[in-house]
Amino acid sequence: MVEPRVLSFREAVLEALFLEMHADPNVMLIGEDVGAAGGVFKQTEGLFKTFGATRIIDTPISEPGAFGMAIGAAMAGARPVFEVMFGDFMTLCMDQLVNQAAKVRYMSNGRASVPLVLRTTMGTGANLGPQHSQGFYAWAAHVPGLKVVVPSNPADAAGLMRAAIRDNDPVLFFEDRMLYPAKGAVDADIPLVPIGKARVLREGSDVTLIAIGRMAQFALDAAKRLAADGIEAEVIDPRTLVPLDQEALLQSVRKTHRAIVIDGAPRSYGVTGEIASIINEDAFDWLDAPVMRLGAADTPVPISRTLEPLWRPDAARIEKAVRTLLS
């Protein structure tokens, strides 16, 4: 066995891309400045040099057409990874995503498929403001036919990227840019992480914290502080929203009898409501308190250094919520 290495989130996903592009000549990368430039966040560094211009495609700033082309390429046998530089720009791909990519398998009665990955970045903390911060994974999760992945750490991100590329459906892969420098242990062979399996990041018996993406890191921080007071929080990262590992979430709630669902996107009509409903429907008898939901404000993301951190949950707010729930 080769020793695990410590890699940043960005490095780990990049290694996953290298691995899959070496393994399968049908994998291609399509996006803006992903080629010789190596990506706006250095997230595609070196790929162009290794795989060249027929597999690493630098597109014009032309998201609807370029993403539509990625879908056509996927229908014709390629496995494109299409990059949308900032999650907010995914709106430009929405028609292709919803009306073509998501529906092709169904419309063709399973005779055609769209094996592609749409990867995009999101996240607050760099004051990028209303049009460069959001991740529309809840939207995507509402569209039948898509799969939705939101990783929280380097090993999961890399393993899920590999799985997403191998998956025969359109997979949306949301990366929080604030996690890019975050380091973590990654096994040398970058094990595949199955799409549709949650991960218990920390075991605990007093409350279940179900946290999406970067929120899982905040939840771990909060759990650490709570442990000092003898409160043991279980932290679960669903990792993929579609398909959702409902059983793993329910199992934990049946053990702890309390749950908080935490998301870094606007709370209304979002992921927290969906997960809370599942718990209410399938684990109501085990609950000692109503499921609590923490989400971002129902506003665009403000750019101000004062306002931006107020926009979404953080470790302090999660800690406070747990104390409220337990009191």
Binding site: M28, P64, M75, A76, A78, Q96, R105
Partner: protein, 332 residues
């Protein structure tokens, strides 16, 4: 349907020397009779949803597709039965799909407007105006990455001329010299709106030329003109020289969809276009050239009506999809 027009030689390419004009005629006839059958089924209430017929546009459908090799692909649009048939769709599977039957190629999920037939190189009809354009362009990108020499055609109506997707894909296929042929079936209307009312600029072909794409407007009612023009574009594409743009002027003999009263069309204009019906025109020429006789054409037409009638009988009362099918094939 036997696709004599594609004449699979050893290379799988159509022969350049003697185009199969008779085969093209046969396919046009098949489309005309197929559409007539769909019209009467729709009028009788047997077709779920909307259905857009292409009668009148057969020369465009057939002339373009006859210039392709078997491995070449097309992306079609909402008025796409003709493309599907010309590309080799089984008559009963297409008709069954239009009727929403289990026996339809897509299990009754796609109907007329979302018929996907990859086995025959058809990326699908499309319910989104302009939606098929990037699919064909992207399939071309994939082919280039794998070193293939296939050519990709996207069909679209004049209505799609004002979709940004078209211009984005023209730009990208031009910079990357992708093997794509853009075919606009200009029938003068998008739904009930005349093209001139919604399309700026003095020339449609200029919309291709601005990207450096060879662009041409042709008589879309003449199957031979369509074929030879497309053949040149296909040769160019296969040689790695990039996309072409062909505007085929044509006319839909029916309404936008079955049931459309068409009061936005002027009678005189309709009459003028009916006189240009591509099928009698092709028949006349075939007879004059001694490629067939009036009697043989009658027999051919009788064969085709029988073929269509048999398909109608086969699927008209075929079973609806089972309820258990509803949730199938959302994910793989």
């Amino acid at each position: 349907m036997k696709q004599t027009t594609r004449m699979a030689a050893a290379s799988g390419r159509p022969e350049k020397t003697s185009p199969d004009w008779l085969g093209m005629h046969r396919t046009m006839l098949l489309i005309r009779h197929f559409e007539e059958a769909v019209r009467s089924l729709a009028t009788a209430g047997a077709v779920p949803g909307l259905v857009h017929l292409c009668a009148g546009q057969e020369a465009t459908n057939v002339g373009v597709i006859a210039a392709l090799a078997k491995g070449d692909m097309i992306a079609s649009h909402h008025r796409g039965h003709g493309h599907c048939l010309a590309k080799g769709a089984d008559v009963a599977s297409l008709l069954g799909e239009i009727l929403g039957k289990e026996a339809g190629l897509c299990g009754g999920r796609s109907g007329s407007m979302h018929f996907i037939d990859l086995d025959n190189g058809n990326l699908g009809t499309n319910g989104i105006v302009g939606g098929g354009i990037p699919l064909a362009a992207g399939a071309a990108l994939a082919a280039r990455a794998r070193g293939g020499d296939e050519v990709f055609v996207c069909f679209f109506g004049d209505g799609a001329l004002n979709q940004g997707l078209l211009h984005e894909c023209m730009n990208m296929t031009a910079i990357w010299k992708l093997p794509v042929v853009f075919v606009c079936e200009n029938n003068g209307f998008g739904e009930f709106t005349a093209i001139d009312d919604v399309t700026a600029g003095p020339s449609i072909v200029a919309r291709g030329e601005v990207f450096g794409i060879p662009s041409k407007m042709i008589d879309g009612m003449d199957v031979r003109t369509v074929f030879t023009t497309t053949q040149r574009a296909v040769t160019r594409a296969r040689a790695g020289k990039g996309p072409s743009f062909i505007v085929c002027n044509t006319w839909r003999f029916g309404g936008h969809h079955v049931g459309d009263k068409q009061d936005y069309k002027a009678d005189a204009e309709t009459k003028r276009w009916l006189a240009r019906d591509p099928i009698p025109k092709s028949a006349k020429r075939l007879i004059a050239e001694g490629l067939t006789t009036a009697v043989k054409l009658k027999t051919l037409e009788a064969q085709i009506t029988t073929q269509v009638r048999v398909a109608v009988e086969r699927v008209r009362n075929a079973p609806e999809p089972a309820a258990t099918r509803l949730a199938e094939h959302v994910h793989g």
